[in-house]
Amino acid sequence: MQNNFRTELARAKGLGPAKGGAHHWWHQRLTSIIMTPLFFWLLFFIKCNIDQELSTVISNIHKPYNIVPMLLLIITAFYHGMLGMRVIIEDYIPNIAIRSTLIVLIQLFCIVTIVSIVVALLSLISI
């Protein structure tokens, strides 16, 4: 029973949840909201560039209203995909060792790919 001056409620408060742990859920929604208009930008970009010469396409990518959405879309898409793959792995792989390994591998893969593609895009527009 109660053996000091703190109430049961005060002792229980703040002990249970870690005050976090839902950020991945929110980030998944946030990236999906960001990607919805960017997806339609991508369709428009493909429509405009599908039958153009390579040099024209590259000069179009130079334009800030194309390179900014492109970088944003790639980064948010990989982040969204990383979170989604994590959820799927957590749901279907009961073996904790394989599950953790796969999650870490996918996260590493996403980080490496994002950095590489940003470097590649920047070197594409700097030629």
Binding site: R29, I33, I74, A77, G84, M85, I93, I98
Partner: protein
Amino acid sequence: MSEIIIINTINETATYFLMLKTKQEIHNNRPTSPHMGIYRRQISSVLSIFHRLTGIALFGGLSIGSWWFILWVFNKFDPAFLHVSKFWLFKFAALALSFCGFYHLGTGLRHLMWDVGCGFSIKAIDLTGWLAVIFACLMTAIFWCCII
């Protein structure tokens, strides 16, 4: 009787190696949710499964496409990389991925709708589910008509 035992053994071995169940679950021999064998397909469950499958497909397509682009740039813009668009497999993949994108967008918007607390009635779920399917098919058709 012996056939049943053999089939059971094969089944258990397969589930163990594919890690569909944990060792404990196989030992207990208790059914695990959602009993896919006897589960009646509904629009909500089928769309949910395909939301995940298209998500995996989009992640795979995005990864392959990204690395194709990265390797192309780091190979000093090797023109050989651009020949890939001539293969029918590339065209099929582009068509399939565009459908996956529209589908994932449609069902994803449904998820966002549920997140803000709307459309939980059976009627609304059926309606928005079919709307998402129609949206995906229609947008894929319009998109390919526009770019071809």
